[in-house]
């Protein structure tokens, strides 16, 4: 297993955001993490990325315990994350944004610049290289967020709502980008609120509700799982779905 999270628990004061969640991701997989609003997806995700130190449980990456490792240590190990609200470096150009990521593996400026240009070409942003990041709209920012992360040459990418706020055409382009990243040999964990998108992308899906994993399996199995339908739509829908 490339990534293994075991019985993660995260409490904020008296509130238990993640009660007991686990996840296993094999090298080369795309795993979707879904759940209704407030299910604890983002908190769980932040525990995986090193942004939060869980109150209990542990996270293993390639066999090493990284539960308490800092976000920068995660990046160095090859675990990269994007943000739901893309935190681009607005006053820097798009090329410079990506260079910050590239410097992780290429300490010299010239090589970092070349690596960043390659990443921009791959992600379709090369035309805008010299523009300031603040000139981009939401889809561009999300794309830049992904490009910046790819420049760190990760083994595992955690995508936090990469498609939220995009229109259908933009979603289609973003899906192409995610597929391309996957083809390049990167393992992906996708947190997404929009179910349809995850169903088309992910090979395996983990469903969180109220801080616990309530279902896990292939997309087809998940959509018919009564517990999942119940969590998303309520009990009456779950019953109706199972009437012959």
């Amino acid at each position: 297993m490339l990534l293994r999270a075991e019985s993660i628990r995260m409490a904020f004061g008296g509130f238990l955001a993640v009660a007991d969640a686990g996840l296993e991701v094999a090298e080369g997989e795309i795993v979707g993490l879904i759940g209704p609003n407030g299910a604890g997806k983002t908190t769980f995700f932040n525990c995986l990325a090193g942004d939060l130190k869980p109150s209990g449980g542990r996270v293993l990456f390639d066999g090493a315990d990284i539960t308490l490792a800092s976000p920068e240590a995660h990046a160095a190990l090859g675990i990269a994350r994007t943000f739901q609200v893309p935190a681009t470096f607005d006053e820097m150009t798009i090329l410079e944004n990506v260079m910050v990521g590239a410097f992780l593996r290429h300490p010299r400026e010239k090589e970092a610049r070349e690596a960043a240009r390659r990443t921009l070409a791959l992600t379709g942003l090369e035309r805008l290289a010299e523009h300031k990041a603040k000139s981009l709209g939401t889809p561009g920012r999300k794309r830049l967020g992904i490009a910046r992360v790819m420049a760190t040459e990760p083994r595992l990418v955690l995508l936090d709502e990469a498609l939220a706020g995009l229109n259908p055409a933009e979603i289609q382009q973003a899906i192409e980008l995610v597929r391309m990243i996957h083809r390049s040999g990167v393992t992906l964990v996708i947190v997404e609120h929009i179910m349809e998108v995850v169903l088309t992308l992910a090979e395996r899906i983990v469903v969180l509700n109220q801080g616990r994993v309530i279902a896990e399996g292939r997309p087809k199995e998940i959509v018919n799982d009564p517990a999942v339908i119940d969590a998303y739509l309520g009990r009456s829908h779950a019953r109706r779905a199972h009437q012959p």
Partner: protein, 335 residues
């Protein structure tokens, strides 16, 4: 942006080198030396306050350590004040580590306030410490015993010493801008959380920036001390010293290579004029002036004058490009 930046640099260097030869007279020479000295301390502040975006308002601590150390060496051992320069740098860098580790846990205004608190605390302590001359301060050698005392009647030799130090500092800053260190500092300024997620060791780099900045601020303080031959808590450790660095860098353009120099070129003459015009009341007036500049900048032009200039240039270029397109519409559109 000029098309051949090297020409711009040579022109700037030429103007600065020739200046005291053209504008002679004690008043102008002293003023010019003070402009360059202020540019050094503001450029040193710029490393951490501008590039890394950690707005310290306590840099008087490093300036003060640098200013006191050469004169302390003279007082204790009648040693050359020059020996105090490296000692000041070492002590300042150590203080930077002691201050930086706890205060960098704070962000934004809280960091700025913590640095003010530390600086004022040290100023009050030094004012009551007889070893450092208390409220009266320390004196340097009145007449030179040799070249190593760096005592000159004219301001011109100081001007060229200051200019050489400024050149070294700006060269290092320029190199930094083009290195991983510089990119990481700008990323930290733009967003610490995102920077960390890309593998930037934020706390470590902020500390490096503060250490480098403290070392050069200390050097500026030492140069100040040998030029004036006298320091007291107010002139070397007062909050005005810190505020001056912030305002100069911010006026010209914080986080830009030449921003602090531009700020110093504008503000120092302004300040000297008000001082000579209003006499003793001038110090109070400087506070009002700085307050006004801070308010205007943060309301209208947080990027400083250099950014304003670049925007103006970009607009003009766009206009001429449009003009050219209109003139050569036939060929250009065919392409």
């Amino acid at each position: 942006m000029p098309r051949k930046p090297i020409i711009g640099w040579l022109a700037l260097a030429a103007v600065l080198i020739v200046f005291p030869l053209v504008f002679t007279g004690a008043y102008y020479e002293q003023l010019a030396a003070f402009v360059i000295l202020s540019a050094i301390s503001a450029s040193a502040w710029n490393l951490v306050g501008g590039y890394a975006g950690q707005v310290s308002v306590g840099h008087a601590v490093f300036f003060g350590v640098g200013a006191y150390m050469p004169l302390l060496f003279y007082k204790l051992w009648e040693a050359s004040p020059l020996l105090g320069f490296p000692a000041g740098i070492v002590v300042s860098v150590l203080i930077a580590i002691v201050i930086g580790v706890p205060t960098f846990r704070l962000s934004g205004h809280y960091f700025s306030m913590a640095t003010i608190a530390v600086a004022e605390l040290i100023r009050i302590l030094v004012s009551d410490w007889d070893f450092l001359g208390g409220a009266i301060g320390l004196m340097g050698p009145a007449t030179p015993r040799g070249w190593w005392d760096l005592v000159y009647r004219s301001s011109v030799p100081y001007y060229y010493i200051f200019l050489a130090v400024l050149a070294v500092l700006l060269y290092i800053t320029h190199r930094m801008e083009r290195s991983r260190f510089g990119y990481y500092l700008r990323a930290i300024r733009a967003g610490e959380r995102a920077a960390r997620s890309l593998g930037v060791p934020v706390s470590r780099y902020k500390l490096y920036a503060l250490m480098l900045s403290a070392g050069f601020t200390s050097l500026a303080g030492s140069l100040y001390a040998v030029k004036f031959g006298f320091v007291d808590p107010g002139s070397a450790l007062g909050i005005l010293v810190s505020v001056q660095m912030v305002v100069m860098a911010a006026l010209g353009g914080a986080g830009r290579l030449l921003g602090p120099l531009l700020g110093a070129v504008i503000l120092v003459p302004l300040q000297t004029t008000t001082n000579t015009f209003f006499g003793g009341a001038g110090t109070g007036l400087a506070f009002i002036l700085y307050g006004g500049i801070i308010m205007l900048l943060s309301r209208f032009e947080p990027g400083g004058l250099l950014e304003l200039w670049e925007r103006f240039q970009a607009r003009r270029e766009a206009r001429t490009a449009r003009g050219r397109a209109l003139l050569g519409a036939g060929e250009d559109h065919a392409a």
